[in-house]
């Protein structure tokens, strides 16, 4: 029994180490002055400390603009998809219209196609409507891409809300839409917030569409902004600043995780248990 406990804690240490060791090196690099971080071979423990990378990243890279763009795009797409997705989920779970099963499977399968398989027609479409370098060119496709996950999670949750509540509301003379936003939606708030968090993170992290549709520096989102910095410096990568920026833009996500970890895990696993 003792040995088993010991082995368990060895395993736990390995797991924590597995998740955190790359992050340790990144943090280390971001707080070192250039003279130390560019030494070869590298020094793998802290020897000097500076904040200059964290200051430099705001001076040399329009980090705040990137953050603003990402926030606008992610929040808008999340708001739209939660609204229209919850309506569709309500129709599937409570009106139970004919063809709702094929509809759900159709959403699921189309959700599997990677963005690369539809990127050029979208690019052409936005170019024709002069929407490139416009927030709409990201908000609209992000909304669409988020639909399958949203409708699936919400429909599963709405199903569990007793149909008697819906029927009682209808019998009492509420319209379907009233029953939706006065009865079902308030009861579904836990699932709605889970979906909102998952979609926000997904939009915040999206790369290929943002890379293609936002070609102007001041319209870039953080993922593209940070990962494309290295391309602008031909002689020497400002690694310290890049890593500092990467860590800074991750902070909001880590905060979300700390606040909402139960919700995130329940959302992620909703599909896994249902099968």
């Amino acid at each position: 029994m003792r040995l088993k406990r010991f082995l368990l804690y060895v395993g736990v240490t390995i797991m924590a180490f597995y998740c955190l060791f790359p992050i340790y090196f990144l943090v280390l690099d971001s707080i070192e002055p250039t003279s130390v971080s560019y030494s070869s071979p590298p020094i793998l423990y802290p020897v000097a400390f500076t904040f200059s990378n964290y200051i430099g990243v705001f001076e040399n890279i329009p980090l705040l603009t990137y953050i603003k763009n990402s926030t606008i795009v992610s929040l808008s797409a999340t708001a739209i998809v939660v609204l229209i997705g919850s309506m569709a989920a309500f129709a599937v779970a409570k009106i139970k219209f004919r063809g709702s099963n094929p509809f759900m499977n159709f959403l699921l399968i189309l959700g599997f196609f990677p963005a690369a398989t539809m990127i050029f027609p979208l690019y052409e479409m936005f170019a024709n409507f002069h929407l490139l370098n416009n927030y709409l060119s990201l908000i609209l496709p992000y909304t669409s891409v988020s639909i399958p996950l949203t409708v699936w999670i919400l429909a599963t949750y709405f199903e569990q809300i007793p149909t008697a509540l819906y029927e009682a509301a209808r019998v009492d003379g509420m319209s379907r839409f009233q029953a939706f936003y006065k009865i079902i939606l308030p009861l579904g708030i836990p699932a709605v917030s889970t979906v909102a968090i998952l979609n926000f993170i997904a939009c915040w992290n999206e790369f290929i569409l943002a890379l293609t549709f936002m070609t102007k520096e001041n319209m870039r989102t953080i993922t593209v902004g940070i990962s494309m910095i290295s391309g602008r410096f031909s002689y020497q990568y400002p690694w310290g600043e890049i890593i500092a920026g990467a860590l800074l833009v991750t902070v909001p996500l880590v905060i979300i995780i700390f606040i909402a970890q139960e919700k995130i895990i329940s959302g992620l696993t909703a599909g896994a248990i249902k099968g």
Binding site: G11, M15, F90, M118, I119, S144, S227, T250, G275
Partner: protein, 297 residues
């Protein structure tokens, strides 16, 4: 899934109501998912002047680079997903035990998952740098390599690098999904087996794994299809290089379309990729119900 509601379907305003609730989603989906896919099908079968042609398919199906990226995509997905499921399962078994700091560790597990892939790839690009990146030097100091390896400029090592970075990001994610499956297994089943004198490995083989099959299959399916479309990681970490050693299908389509401006070849490649995915989905769909039946009893 849905069962008949007590409110009859032919009730007044049924069609209008369904239309009103579902239409926004359908409109978005049609414009931003279905139309682009159809447009790519159309592009792949036409010439610049608009006539019908099979040349685009002839061009890519006879090119070595298309089959090479197919091979890279398939091997990347297979290898990385198997590694992730294997390590993820071990991690999930450990996380299922009681220990101090279990909740904190679960939070830590979410960090790699929540990191944007593009940013994680930027970080790994630094970690794998030859002269001042820590990773090659660690391998050297631990005597696992004769000299610090050039990860991103050697074809095989570049391929290993993307698998390594992908595994780092998704092993914890798989572990959390599988953990949910483990926690859904009733505890008294284990107690019954212990009473009968079954050992740890016997319980794992005869109880845990059979009951985990549905969760494993769903996780596998999602992960495989996700890995199949890999773009961010490769584009940032290796840009498909060195040479074409890590050019999976998504970056290949992007390169054809936006770097070589060969839109129709890109469309044909997209259609081929869509076909691969449909085949995968059909395989998963049929085997899932088969395995579900087999383990239902």
């Amino acid at each position: 899934m849905p069962k008949r509601s007590a409110i009859p379907n032919h009730e007044k305003g049924y069609f209008r109501a369904v239309l009103g609730f579902v239409a926004p989603v359908v409109v978005f989906f049609t414009i931003f998912q279905i139309y682009p896919l159809m447009k790519n099908v159309w592009l792949s079968f036409t010439t610049i002047k608009g006539g019908f042609t099979l040349n685009n398919y002839y061009q890519i199906l006879t090119s070595q680079s298309f089959w090479q990226s197919t091979w890279i995509t398939v091997s990347f997905s297979l290898i990385s997903v198997s590694i992730e499921m294997l390590i993820g399962f071990v991690f999930a078994l450990l996380l299922n035990e009681e220990f101090h700091g279990r909740k904190a560790l679960r939070t830590v597990f979410l960090i790699p998952w929540a990191l944007p892939t593009a940013i994680m790839a930027t970080g790994w690009k630094f970690l794998l740098q030859h002269s001042y990146g820590p990773f090659p030097w660690l391998l050297y100091w631990l005597h696992l390599a004769k000299s610090p390896p050039y990860f991103l400029s050697t074809p095989n090592l570049a391929f290993i690098s993307i698998i390594m970075a992908d595994a780092w990001k998704t092993v914890p994610f798989c572990a959390l999904l599988l953990l949910a499956g483990l926690q859904a297994i009733p505890k008294d089943l284990y107690e019954a087996m212990q009473v009968d004198g079954a050992g740890w490995f016997f319980q794992l083989r005869k109880l845990t794994i059979p009951l985990m099959i549905p969760a494993i299959i769903v996780t596998l399916m999602f992960r495989f299809l996700q890995a199949f479309g890999v773009f961010d990681l490769i584009w940032v970490l290796t840009s498909g290089g060195p040479g074409n050693a890590t050019m999976a299908l998504s970056p290949f389509i992007y390169q054809q379309t936006f770097n070589w401006l060969d839109v129709r070849a890109g469309a044909a490649t997209s259609v081929m990729m869509a076909i691969y995915i449909l085949v995968l989905v059909v395989i998963v769909w049929t085997t899932r119900s088969y395995i579900g039946r087999r383990y239902a009893q």
